[in-house]
């Protein structure tokens, strides 16, 4: 076992173990790097690019970039955060993300990431307003691909955890989408008990567990009181607990 080494993130020293990516080492140190396609327990693929950081002045995806001794990483800088805002906006404008009517609202990682990055108003990007199919054939699961952000987490969860390969990317470019390993989901061997269908896997409201909608009341949803990434920041050695202010409390 070779020895640990150090590099810096925004001036702070982070310790890494050999074989770790920049994201792994930062997660351990309690330094949060925003990400959407990457999630603990699945192989990183570096497709959403939201975890873009600068490494010795060059941009790289932190989830796939190996940590190296002495590199200088920029994470929370205006330029890097600007790139991330652009990428999250692109995802919003690419699909149909109507938060007020979406069952995932409040626990949606795309929505939470927008809040975290300070995206509060419309951008100049055009809305592509695609018309994508909804697959409600399965008795327990529905797929509304209008909300899909192509993170591929369901693909990796089904393949690597469930050993089923229910999903795969099909098509290319702007027409790329998630395909199902049969005519439709009902004809596949998908099950509500699959890890791929669990709430942790789909970051948005694309994979819908039927008859479970809106299970958490407003105020108690995953990101209602804490921003996305808080559980990683909680690991930081100098962490100061920050109470997120509820705008309604502030008014009263």
């Amino acid at each position: 076992m070779s020895t640990e080494f150090e590099f810096t993130v925004d001036g702070e020293t982070v310790v890494a173990k050999p074989g770790q990516t920049i994201m792994d080492a930062c997660d351990d140190a309690g330094v949060y790097i925003p990400r959407l396609c990457d999630v603990e327990g699945l192989v990183p693929q570096g497709s959403c690019r939201v975890c873009t950081v600068k490494v010795n002045g060059r941009t790289a995806a932190a989830c796939t970039q190996p940590a190296e001794p002495g590199v200088v990483v920029e994470n929370d800088t205006p330029q890097v955060q600007g790139y991330r805002r652009d990428l999250v906006r692109m995802l919003f404008h690419e699909g149909n993300h109507l938060c007020p009517i979406c069952e995932a609202s409040g626990r949606c990682e795309l929505q939470a990431m927008a809040y975290r990055l300070g995206i509060s108003q419309d951008s100049l990007y055009p809305y592509l307003q695609p018309v994508r199919p909804v697959d409600a054939s399965h008795p327990d699961i529905a797929l509304d691909t209008n909300r899909c952000i192509l993170c591929g987490r369901c693909i990796r969860a089904s393949r690597d955890v469930d050993g089923k390969n229910i999903f795969e990317y099909v098509g290319r470019g702007i027409h790329k989408r998630i395909g199902v390993n049969a005519e439709n989901l009902a004809a596949s061997d998908a099950s509500i008990d699959d890890y791929a269908m669990s709430l942790e896997v789909c970051p948005v409201g694309c994979i819908i567990r039927k008859r479970e909608g809106f299970f958490a009341p407003i105020g108690q949803r995953q990101f209602d009181n804490k921003p996305i990434g808080w559980e990683i920041e909680a690991r930081h050695k100098n962490r100061i607990a920050v109470h997120q202010i509820d705008p309604s409390e502030e008014q009263s």
């Binding site: 497709s47 692109m90 055009p126 990317y169 199902v180």
Partner: protein, 611 residues
Amino acid sequence: MDNDNATLIKQACADYDNDPRRMMDILWQVQDKLRCIDGEAMSLIASLTGTYRVEVEGVVSFYAFFSDKRKGDITIRLCDDIIDRHAGAQAVAEAFSGALGIQPGETSTDGAFSLEFTPCIGMCDQAPAALINDVVVTRLTPAKVKSILRTLRKTKDPQTLIGKTGDGANSDPLVQAMVRNNIRQPGPVLLTDVDPEQGLRAALQLSPQEVISHIEESLLRGRGGAGFPTGRKWRLAANTPAEERYVICNADEGEPGTFKDRVLLTEKPDLLFSGMTIAAYAVGARHGILYLRGEYRYLRAYLEETLQRRREQNLLGSGILGRKDFAFDIRIQMGAGAYICGEESSLISSCEGKRGEPKNRPPFPVQSGYLGYPTVVNNVETLSCVPRIMAQGATWFRGMGTTGSSGTKLLSVSGDCARPGIYEVAFGVTLAEILEQAGAQDAAAIVVGGASGQIVGRTEFHRRLCFEDLASAGAIVCFNSSRNILEAAAYYMDFFIEESCGYCTPCRVGNVFLKKGLEKIMHGEGEPEDLDYLRNLSDTIIATSRCGLGHTSPNPILSTMEYFPLVYSAMVKERPGGMQAGFNIQKALDEARIIAKRRSLIYDPAYGDRE
């Protein structure tokens, strides 16, 4: 599925040992025989190769030449490149459409014909051109369309369209193409009459390490555009401990306006294969792959035969030229219509039978490439230089070109010029000199390097073609002053949107936004801030994209903004009183009407009248 089709599919899989890594070959065979790869075929292929149906669907849907819907027995793919458009491709398309009664993208009801558009097929020097199944037809006119269809209806064999064959090996019995080489200026390195095996014989007298040193000393750099030092690439692969290593030749020449590899593959295949063999000897590879773009399938039989002859001549196989310890062979991998596969890691994915998506780096292909083995991927032109360097010496090679760019470069010149074709020139030649030679004196804009290159104006014609100044894969596309530069930029953006693999967000989505932003300006709805918008969006796409496609896709817009600022400033206007030029009330209302399925009383007088 009927039994005959199932038998054909089983045969296709069996021909490749039911190996999922040969998925591209299996799919080609099925597509050829059944004219489509539908859901049932995907299921059967998946079960025979031990994969999943959706994985097969992922591959089928990735490549433009595969289809899940039945294509006509004869598929006409019209080249839709900007050069073809300038040469009258639209009129040709209309002639085909009219005569066949189908629009591009459709198949005739009797299943006889499909009509499609396809990006650059590497025939810009003889545009407008088309692929009819695998057969290339060039210099099309609306008048020729009639006779083409008459012949096709009678013989049902596109090969019968070929009357007079082209020069050189285009007339070879195994090629029989009407393609012309258009070699306008031969040079001392590649387009010259020499013994192609002299370099291989010289190399085999040396140790592999010495061969690598030789190539390093020659300062040979990758001819595909990026210019990575070839010797260093080889050394990295050779120094990676592994049981196997691979040498892959990138013949997926997809950059719009490039066709030099076509000419090398036609006229100098032995030089190329000799170069691959030297590379294999240097890095310790036993297997090589020539990744041939689907558009050049008409050269396949000829190249296969060349390989076979080399095996018989002991230039391939085991104990090459008496070296008992050296065995090497080459197989041809067909591409199937995907520009992204020219990116080396995508090309490797495609060779492995997968979607042609780039891989994460690190590890680099020289560390872990094809099937996880160290792999050297070099361009056709780069590998073709190798035997010449081994035969004539590194000093000879360095004596041509500039300090940072040794040797010669093949330029593919096309567009508004009197003499389109291939020019072998020493690096460092100026654009003006090339334009003079090609007879493009009235050129107003030049695309250097194709879609991913730079569109430059007259102020830049003094610049030199070399890695230190205007680096490129050698496409020189000429536009005269009658051409609309924004239309060209918009065409190239469409090309990138079509060819993005969609893996990463910025390239998949950002390019669509760039094109829409450009369209707004072209429609006269642009404001000065829109130029900043395009710059900022380009910056994000370049900084955050995963591979070279996204790193270069904003170039058509960025370079036209840089070199043709007056065109843009003439198109954008400051609007008084906070009015948005981009906002069209009637258009917005039309959209709202469609959504609401009703009309507005205020803005639609006709509605009031009817009441």
